[in-house]
Amino acid sequence: MNLHLKSIKELRALLDGGDITAPELTQYYLDRIEKLDPTIRAFITVNDQAMKQAEAAQKMIESGCAGPLTGIVLGIKDNICTKGLRTTCASRMLEDFIPPYHATVAAKLEEAGAVFIGKLNMDEFAMGASTTTSYFGVTRNPYDTDRVPGGSSGGSAAAVAAGLCVASLGSDTGGSIRQPASFCGVTGLKPTYGRVSRSGLIAFASSLDQIGPIGKSARDCAVLLDAVSGADPLDMTSKPSDPVLPQMGKPVAGTVIGIPQEFFGEGLSAEVRAAVEAAAGEFEAMGCVIKEVSMPSLKYAIPAYYLIASAEASSNLARYDGVRYGHLSQEGETFDQRLIATRNEGFGREVKRRILLGTYALSSGYFDAYYKKACLLRRRIRREYEEIFKTCDCILTPTAPEIAFRIGEKGGDPTEMYLADIYTVTVNIAGLPAVSTTCGYSSEGMPIGMSLVGKAFADGEILNLADAFEKKFQYVLNDFCL
């Protein structure tokens, strides 16, 4: 039985019906990890307590207390704290960090009886779009192992695509759930800012970060999203929200979908353009209304995003001094010398670049020209979204300008990698929800993703649209995925 091809709903029925047990399902995934992960390298840590969690889940099932995720095998991005389970952020700085507490999302999933199969690889401190900056090595795309899985949640997307877990959690600061989901042919949701608590998510850029689900389908994402959503006293930006699962299956006819022309200009590959335009045609055939709209400030989105994110990162990463936790250098005579040696050894090159950029943007003499200007542009981009949503229910864009690139292809100039985020960062800047789902394949067989962007807290509406599309879409799975 190809259990890894089944949805959460199908697995729920098998578990509740006694056709399989939670430990059997967990062992099934452990076997797949042993077989496939030496090639994919999606995991930084496989949880040696997973079987214990599965046994506890089985007791919940047998006592009739099972919820939607009881016994379901999940992977967790390695920047989400899991009590007693190593959480590295893919950095030497946190190579041996064992969190003393759960992130709120992890606590909710544990209470729901989910099984944590392991911690998933990512770009170091979530800074990257390729999962090549991880201290623990490169994760490979299951559709072509010479290519990147995207990033920063590359391990989370690759693990789902290769059937190494049922679904996973990622985090998205500038596209880090949607772009890897697009590259690996799976579905990923960046929720509305505030829908999911960030407590226990290792901070990169606090005004942009959001935890979200990656799954084989929009429906699987909806189940996972409902399990982790909600206001949390430990995160003052979190808010209560309605569950999204009841919105799935609602008619989509009449939905007005905006197509911002700036997202279809120079730099977009012809294959991606064709696939997204074909998807727009499919929505039209379902009775949706396609409407041309405009976002003139898209051309400033990359610098605005990188200045804001790096400024926040330079502040957030100031905490890594090797004193309370994390790597501590043995070099240096004084406290200051050891602090500098610790940070030099603990952080990789991309993290150092972002710290320098953020420090520059916040420093005296440059603040107004860079950081403040970026904040003003953030307001302008938000207002442009508000204008679009006066006449549209959602927006359709490509998720990335191209298919997954080859490992090492963008290793030279760092800005090449930054520009790959062009279609995703405005969503974080505006705090909106967006889901990426597969809408086609390139001539080389690589998945192509499209994004549906919704109004704040309309996560359910865009998941429902994605679900409607997925039901009609013909998926192509390769050997790794099968």
């Binding site: 990188y306 200045l307 004193v323 004084t334 940070r343 030099n344 090159r349 420090t359 520059y360 800005t415």
Partner: protein, 94 residues
């Protein structure tokens, strides 16, 4: 133009340091990054049009009341230097 003095200044502010070869690489990287970032410096946009006031969306702060906390042993479990129930660090001054 590569600005090595700027790299030294930013490194000092960031509690980082770069050796000769690293500084060369970082200066080249930063030159490229700043060329990209500079595209926004010429944008005409004003605070009058887009006020940078605090936005809504924050929930109320938690009440300032005593709550249970983790045992000291758990909190200190990841600290490399420990002495009794305290964190031990190198001396800060003679």
């Amino acid at each position: 133009m590569k600005d090595y003095q700027l790299i030294d200044h930013l490194a000092a502010l960031s509690r980082l340091s770069f050796t000769g070869a690293e500084k060369e690489e970082m200066a080249a990287d930063m030159e490229s990054i700043m060329n990209l970032m500079d595209t926004i410096t010429q944008v005409e946009i004003s605070e009058e049009e887009y006020p940078l006031t605090a936005e809504g969306g924050m929930e109320l702060l938690r009440a300032d009341e005593e709550r249970p906390s983790m045992p000291a042993e758990e909190v200190l479990a990841n600290a490399k230097g420990k002495l009794y129930h305290f964190i031990a660090v190198q001396k800060l001054m003679d």
